[in-house]
């Protein structure tokens, strides 16, 4: 509350705390995170703050990161798997500026990895924290718009509606149609949205040595998957969970097992596929792996 009209001179230099949030807010968010870790997969409401980036741009993830980051941390930020996408660059800059922490593009070097829509290809390690940006924390929202209803459904572990929805997709498409935000059961109790990662990444959540934190700023929820927790993607015995596979390999590094982005080359239908994880692709090329279009201009742009 400003008691006096703010003087013009003061307008130019408002002071911000380390990592933007004030310490009381960080404490509140840390308590929320601890509760989330104690009840894996449960969405804990929290007093989400306005952040200096818009809702939908990663405000939840940024608040989680701002609450746990310290001066010795090494921060990596990816969007669509890549370190050089504009929003990842913007968030990485934000923490480099406001928390003065070291930043990296290397998955192995990072202590905190904030992400939108992907989990890195490289196996995560104990001590690492993944921070997911979550647009819609409620996996049931598409089936039931009311928060009052969905909270009760979680409380009663009443997930029949979700299974019916999967069954309906099987009857319509002869397979489970979900491709991203594929729902999971955490520790055989809570239904959870893994955030809009492709289902390709779901298996990486299961028994991961890293701590997985999910922040939804606009919806004001935080949830977590603690290290070494069972995470099961929903399926049926006769329609087991499957991940995506490509007929192509990465055009730059030749990777056969990574998630591939499609790059349209011209208007004649020509396209190439490249690793979505830019750090993974760059490291493989540095190790000498070569793809069928290794000398393409994109090799310079993404390494």
């Amino acid at each position: 509350m400003s008691v006096q009209p703010t003087a013009q001179a003061e307008l130019t230099a408002p002071l911000y705390n380390f990592a933007y949030l004030d310490e009381q807010t960080k404490r509140m968010i840390r308590r929320t995170i601890l509760k989330a870790i104690a009840i894996p997969g449960y969405q804990v409401p929290f007093g989400s703050r306005e952040m200096p980036v818009p809702y939908g741009w990663g405000t939840g993830g940024i608040q989680v990161t701002a609450s746990i980051i310290g001066r010795s941390d090494v921060f990596k930020c990816i969007d669509q798997g890549a370190d050089d996408t504009t929003n990842a660059v913007s968030i990485r800059r934000f923490f480099a500026k406001i928390a003065e922490v070291a930043v990296t593009e290397s998955t192995a070097e990072a202590t905190i990895i904030q992400t939108r829509h992907r989990i890195p290809e490289k196996d995560l390690q104990e001590g690492q924290v993944m921070v997911f940006q979550v647009p819609q924390p409620e996996p049931l929202r598409g089936l039931e718009p009311r928060e009052t209803e969905t909270r009760a459904m979680h409380a009663y572990e009443e997930y029949g509606l979700q299974y019916v929805s999967l069954y309906e997709s099987v009857s319509a498409y002869r397979r489970i149609a979900a491709t991203a935000s594929y729902p999971v059961i955490v520790d055989e109790r809570y239904l959870m949205s893994p955030s809009p990662i492709p289902k390709f990444d779901n298996p990486k959540l299961h028994m991961s040595p890293a701590l997985m934190l999910f922040g939804a700023g606009r919806e004001k929820r935080i949830y977590a998957v603690p290290p070494y927790t069972r995470v099961r993607s929903l399926d049926f015995e006769d329609y087991p969970f499957e991940t995506q596979r490509w007929d192509d390999v990465c055009a730059l590094c030749g990777a056969e097992e990574s998630y591939l982005d499609e790059v349209v080359l011209d208007d004649q239908g020509n396209r190439m596929f490249v690793c979505s994880d830019s750090n993974h692709c760059g490291e493989r090329r540095a190790e000498g792996h070569v793809g069928p279009m290794a000398d393409h201009a994109l090799a310079g742009a993404t390494s």
Partner: protein, 368 residues
């Protein structure tokens, strides 16, 4: 190549920001607009930004308007993102709008009310003809408005006090044992929402959204048959009682707009028929918003009065979850961010479906 451009990175952002700054400034042949000019001459824009930005500071709101190039939701967002970093040191005492230094006060319910109808600075009854004199260069100073012979009474009775002796208006007295007020800036939305939570959400809510909801109610989508009991604009003082002092000290003066809407309540077994009220309060002079807020507040009493909630304006989850323009604007516009990983997953799936569709069709044709 489009995707390469998306991966433009650091230099692209820096360049875009520089271009934005250039566009904001506009032609350098035109003098730069000053924050003091915005504060003084675009004061209703400042009022809206302070209200929906939840921060009463005319200088910061004017700065936000300048920085946002006049995009008010963007200015509201700037102010919110500043406000949220400020520490909260306590709750003020409730402001006493019945002691307001009134600049404008009208009631549509009575021809005259104690203290009189006071038009004040209003667009009402102006003819909306462009005033080309304002477009002319240089000092066009309006003639000073005439002064009344006598000043207004210090305390103009509110519409509630006019009704008081007949018990015609529903009582809204806070419980003596009421807990601390809900603080929507510190706690997430929860349902069923308490009245303080609801009023805070509406006070911060988007004027356009609330206006349309109120309008939908008037057109029969959850009608409350509202009547403007009173609308008043003026200054109130904010007092704060520090626990260590135990008595109130005056912190600031605020300009606020307050609206009380009346609507008939048929009564029930426990309550005789009377008028229910809807309440609206905004920072600054924002009558459209205050009136809309009051109508929506009244419509949201549907749940309390066990009325079936069939219309959008009666549904508190629908209204409260979607009224905040900072949340809404961010989430709608986040669709500009790259989504190609998810799209790739979907594309793969749709291609597979199309392949299967074509195979099934050619198999069927072969069989026929």
């Amino acid at each position: 190549m489009a995707y390469v451009a998306v991966k433009g990175g650091e230099q692209a952002i820096t360049n875009a920001h520089a271009l934005l700054a250039e566009d904001r400034r506009g032609s350098r042949d035109v003098p730069e607009v000053g924050v003091d000019q915005i504060r003084a001459q675009l004061s209703l824009a400042v009022d809206r930004v302070m209200g929906e930005g939840s921060c009463y500071d005319r200088d910061l709101a004017a700065l936000a308007i300048k920085q946002s190039r006049g995009d008010l939701p963007e200015a509201i967002f700037l102010l919110r993102a500043y406000r949220t970093t400020l520490p909260r040191f306590g709750f003020s005492d409730p402001i006493a709008t019945e002691q307001m230094a009134v600049r404008r006060r009208v009631s549509a319910a009575f021809k005259d009310i104690p203290g009189g109808q006071v038009l004040g600075p209003t667009f009402d009854y102006t003819h909306r003809l462009l005033d080309f004199a304002l477009a002319a260069e240089g000092g066009h100073l309006p003639d000073p408005a005439a002064m009344a012979d006598a000043p207004l009474a210090d305390d103009l009775p509110t519409i509630a006090s006019v009704f008081l002796h007949e018990d015609l208006l529903e009582h809204e007295t806070p419980a003596l044992d009421a807990a601390e007020p809900y603080d929507l800036t510190r706690e997430p939305m929860q349902f069923p929402a308490t009245r303080d939570q609801r009023l805070q959400a509406l006070a911060r809510g988007d004027e356009g959204f609330l206006l349309s909801l109120a309008y939908s109610s008037q057109r029969g989508w959850g009608s409350t048959h509202p009547l403007c009991g009173e609308i008043r604009l003026g200054d109130v003082s904010v007092e704060f009682t520090p626990p260590e002092l135990g008595f109130p000290i005056e912190l600031a003066d605020l300009t606020v707009t307050e609206c009380t809407m009346l609507s008939e309540f048929e009564g029930s077994m426990e309550h005789p028929p009377q008028y229910a009220r809807g309440y609206g309060l905004t920072f600054g002079h924002c009558e459209r918003k205050a009136m809309s807020m009051a109508i929506v507040d009244r419509a949201l009493k549907a749940a309390e009065n066990a009325v079936d909630q069939v219309h959008p304006v009666q549904d508190e989850e629908f209204v409260l979850y979607h009224s905040d323009n900072v949340e809404a604007s961010g989430f709608v516009q986040h669709l500009k961010l790259p989504h190609y990983v998810d799209f790739q997953a979907s594309l793969q799936f749709v291609r597979k479906l199309r392949r299967e569709w074509a195979e099934a069709r050619s198999a069927k044709e072969a069989a026929e």
